[in-house]
């Protein structure tokens, strides 16, 4: 799908063992499959059905998403930061597209 844009807020720096809040947003219509067009035809479902966040390859959160998640899905959650590294965010679309975003954090 085109024009899908992720936006994530992560800390730039942290101390080892810190717990930080992460916020993520992605622009996506999350077409539920419940709506009908002006002709009365059902608009087919197309949603992001899964979101994951990993840090240096280890999982932080794995969310199974249903059509009841609002347009432009938003998630806020907490992460334990053991060391410097990369956050990997992945969103999986019904149509097979995969959207990704990576952010780094420095641990002093």
């Amino acid at each position: 799908m085109d024009n899908v844009r992720p936006r994530v807020r992560t800390p730039r720096s942290a101390s080892a063992g810190d717990v930080a809040t992460i916020k993520t947003l992605i622009s996506h219509p999350m077409e539920s499959g419940q709506r009908k067009d002006s002709q009365g035809n059902t608009i087919p479902r197309q949603i992001i059905n899964r979101f994951t966040c990993d840090f240096n390859g280890e999982n932080v959160i794995d969310v199974t998403m249903e059509p009841a998640i609002s347009t432009n899905p938003y998630f806020e959650f907490e992460v334990k930061i053991p060391e410097s590294g990369d956050f990997q965010f992945t969103w999986y679309d019904d149509d097979g597209s995969v959207y990704e975003e990576t952010k780094s954090v420095e641990v002093s």
């Binding site: 844009r5 936006r7 916020k23 947003l25 992605i26 622009s27 609002s70 347009t71 432009n72 938003y74």
Partner: protein
């Protein structure tokens, strides 16, 4: 049960005191930095109100908090899109907005005065008109639809760099005639329900019409992210929807009538802060 045309009086019989009361003392500070004036004395030209209040003050706490942080505000993802478009070359002249304007921040102050008189064009210009003039005349690119996603994103960006500034729209001089036309529209009853903008937004604000908690109808927060559409909504789109809901025939989005109405409604908010892109229900 058979009933014919519902008169305005009947429609207003359904107006009840607000159920969704927000905290009247809540202050709007965005990102902990931008302080907004959400309540102030009504401008001199406005007889019907003594105090003007931003639409923000009429929303529930949850909706209000969405606007207080640029990350929580879903509109900002569209502003990001517009930023990319700002720097992207488009059109036969091989220019981007940045080619002439440098950064979007260079337009700080513009939104607070819009819509305003354009001497060269000899009429009142809104943000959309300025953008399309640049696109067609200087960039030699295709104009964007008034209500297209690209245009809404761009007007959101233009508005965002003026947040916190005081709305100060000119009502005298060459704009006066347009302003008077806008004022006329504001106080005219439209549609089967015979409702004027003033009927709800001046005479019955803070009450509920069915399930909607009526605001004073200011546009300092536009383009706004409406939870209902889960997208940016332009001023004209909102005007159009309101008149359609009176079961009347609305003016066209982008029409001179709506430009006039936009000028008048913007001036009713003189004194409030530019909030756009805001978050509303």
């Amino acid at each position: 049960m058979k009933f014919k045309t519902m008169t305005a009086a009947a429609a207003l019989a359904l107006v009840t005191p607000a159920m969704l009361a927000a905290d009247p003392d809540a202050k709007l500070v965005v990102n902990g930095q931008i302080e907004m004036t959400t309540e102030t004395e009504a401008p001199e030209h406005l007889d019907g109100l003594r105090t003007i209040r931003s639409g923000w003050t009429f929303r529930t706490e949850e909706t209000q908090s969405l606007q207080m942080d640029d990350f929580d505000n879903p509109a900002m993802i569209f502003v990001d899109e517009a930023r990319d478009a700002w720097y992207a070359k488009d059109g036969a002249a091989d220019q981007s907005c940045a080619s002439c304007h440098e950064d979007p921040e260079s337009l700080r102050g513009l939104r607070a005065e819009l819509p305003k008189w354009n001497e060269e064009a000899g009429k009142v210009y809104t943000a959309e008109m300025y953008v399309n003039e640049c696109r067609t005349e200087r960039m030699e690119a295709e104009p964007w639809g008034w209500d297209s996603q690209e245009m809404k994103n761009m007007t959101a960006l233009i508005s965002s760099v003026s947040r916190g500034m005081t709305v100060d729209v000119q009502i005298d001089g060459p704009v006066r005639e347009t302003w008077e036309r806008g004022k006329e529209i504001y106080y005219t009853r439209y549609g089967q329900l015979e409702l004027a903008c003033a009927t709800c937004h001046e005479e019955n604000y803070d009450m509920n019409i069915r399930a909607d908690h009526l605001s004073q109808g200011h546009i300092n927060g536009f383009p706004t992210y409406r939870l209902k559409q889960a997208n940016l909504v332009s001023m004209h789109n909102r005007f159009n929807g309101c008149i359609r809901d009176t079961r009347g025939v609305p003016y066209e989005i982008g029409s001179e009538d709506f430009v006039a109405l936009e000028l008048y409604v913007a001036s009713r908010g003189n004194g409030l802060s530019v909030e756009g892109p805001a978050v509303r229900n």
